[in-house]
Amino acid sequence: MRIFVSSDAAALSVGAEAVAAAVLNEIVSRRLDAKLVRNGSRGLLWLEPLLEVETPNGRVGYGPVTPADVKSIFDGGLGAAHKLNVGVVEAIPYFAKQERLTFARCGITDPLSLEEYEAQGGLKGLRKALEMAPAAIVQAVTDSGLRGRGGAGFPTGIKWKTVLGAQAAQKYIVCNADEGDSGTFSDRMIMEGDPFALIEGMVIAGLAVGATKGYVYIRSEYPHAFRQMNRAIEIAREKGLLGTNVLGSKQIFDIETRLGAGAYICGEETSLLESLEGKRGQIRPKPPLPAIAGLFAKPTVVNNLISLASVPIILAEGADYYKNYGMGRSRGTMPIQLAGNIKRGGLIERAFGITLRELIYDYGGGTYSGRPVRAVQVGGPLGAYWPESLFDVPLDYEAFAAKGGMVGHGGVVVFDDTVDMAKQARFAFEFCAIESCGKCTPCRIGSTRGAETVDKIMRGEKVVQNIDLVRDLCETLRDGSLCALGGLTPMPVMSAIEHFPEDFDRTSSRAAAE
């Protein structure tokens, strides 16, 4: 019998390690023929630490478990009724209603067992790719409709095609795992819960464009993911998935990890490349595109981790299989991360087209505080704040853009009715000021001036004129910044002003108070 307790950092953050120790203690003291597996997380984060027991009917879950509960779970008989028994985990609607393609194995397998990875469908895509011409691999990715999951939504196949066509002695695959957006953790979950999916995706990318070396740039706020990724790469080398003879094909591909050093801007692809080269993480003007002159001036594919981890299933099941999910020009699935003030937060992989209403209420069960939902920020710190009237817009790159928002990396942060939207707008400027690389003036200076101006609004000073000033400043930031940090900071600011004007009308609220 196998018993599962996750070693995902979120599970550990609420005590999974002590639960695992208690489980082990029970196994030993009762002399049970049972094995404890440290899986990734299923993404049902409100149930973590989740203890799962393999039964003939499926894996029965208990959660959230404390070490003190473990004895009674064993006493009652594993799989039997218990106050924390949540039934067969895969039958929980939150899980059952998902469409897990990229996260097919996450939370299910032992993340460091390459045998289990293969048994659960892994390496099928790579084996097919090894039989294909590079251009055919690129074509499959293009046909799948996969777009960059980091936020920009640029078609992955087109990027790959540019690198394939570039002539150079050395090309690189760079995985952007600098997942800095608040409200996002899907990259982290893959690195901790199914790291071979990323490795397989990177090897396929290498075959497709003629690159032999890959880097995974992981933010330093993810020490656990960094260690897990390094272990997985070691295993992949030992078992011949990486190295000078990939799966016996004579093809060459190897991967190294690099640790970021606490700079949000390094999630921007050119800053990331500068950082990899050992420089300040300042952005590079484009052109040249990284696909032409990227890492060490060599043609480089820079892809978000989720984009790369979605490649194996596209190759394994075919472009059409992936493309048949989704809507409009947003094809496939999106791992959505439901976060903030939410009762049932977690990872929800669904085809594009799902609405915020379904996510927040059907999956999430409303706020954690029990108060009404007032605002939602989708797409990280540079995403728009939306009120409930926009909760029926389908999750789709174009549909969100048409309403002044963005899908970004799929983070959904929920706020209850105690939120002060002027404060959130101020924070957007403040965050831009803290994280600006300093290369261009609108971002470096405009962010600070913006925070000061919102301060004036919050004090009730010349509110109408200062809101106009913020509007004007936002136009300068949007049109005059070199990258998305300065260019998109106006999105949270202006959406807050537009959708929640009452929070900025400090004169009347002050007058009312007096």
């Binding site: 979120a10 953050s13 695992a20 984060l45 409200g183 060490f296 976060a339 937060g345 942060v413």
Partner: protein, 168 residues
């Protein structure tokens, strides 16, 4: 039998930094100098080992990599992780980004400042605790999130955080 891989909880162990030592630093640099783009890995190694990167370290790194001291210092200064002064024996990083804001991290931050008698970015006079902001720990469904001595914690409050830094 593939039983388990558990990492022992590190929160009871105070991070032990070595005192600055030129020979140790040079050996550490030599370990990473063969990498492509070695500067950031070298700075991480020095920062982890000695708890900070001092001027002498900057000079040695510049010499080894054939860079100017200004270039190395510019990189050290750019990234939040690299410290010019040693941190306290415990490091508390409180997430102050949006998801944690929605769950009251700003109130937690204020409470911690009051309880510890220091502001963010400061180290307590007894050098027990350094308090730092961080913008996202990737634990956004279990906010407020805090990292203490490199270990991640979710659903935190003042009492829980303080209990993690009691060891002298």
């Amino acid at each position: 039998m593939h039983f388990l891989l558990f990492e022992t909880a590190k929160n009871d162990a105070v991070p032990a930094y070595e005192p600055w030592n030129v020979e140790r630093a040079k050996a550490l640099i030599a370990e990473h100098v063969g990498l492509e783009g070695p500067l950031i890995p070298i700075l991480h190694a020095l920062n982890d080992r000695f708890g900070h990167i001092n001027n002498e370290a900057i000079k040695i790194v510049a010499d080894v990599l054939n860079l100017t001291r200004a270039e190395v210092q510019g990189v050290v200064g750019f990234y939040h992780d690299f410290r010019r002064e040693p941190a306290g024996r415990h490091v508390i990083q409180v997430c102050r980004a949006e998801a944690c804001q929605s769950m009251g991290c700003e109130e937690l931050a204020e409470r911690l400042e009051r309880a510890l008698g220091i502001k963010f970015g400061e180290t307590s006079p007894d050098r027990r605790v350094t308090l730092l902001p961080v913008y996202c720990l990737g634990n956004c469904s279990l906010s407020p999130a805090v990292m203490v001595d490199g270990e991640l914690y979710g659903r935190m409050d003042e009492r829980k955080v303080l209990s993690l830094v009691q060891a002298p």
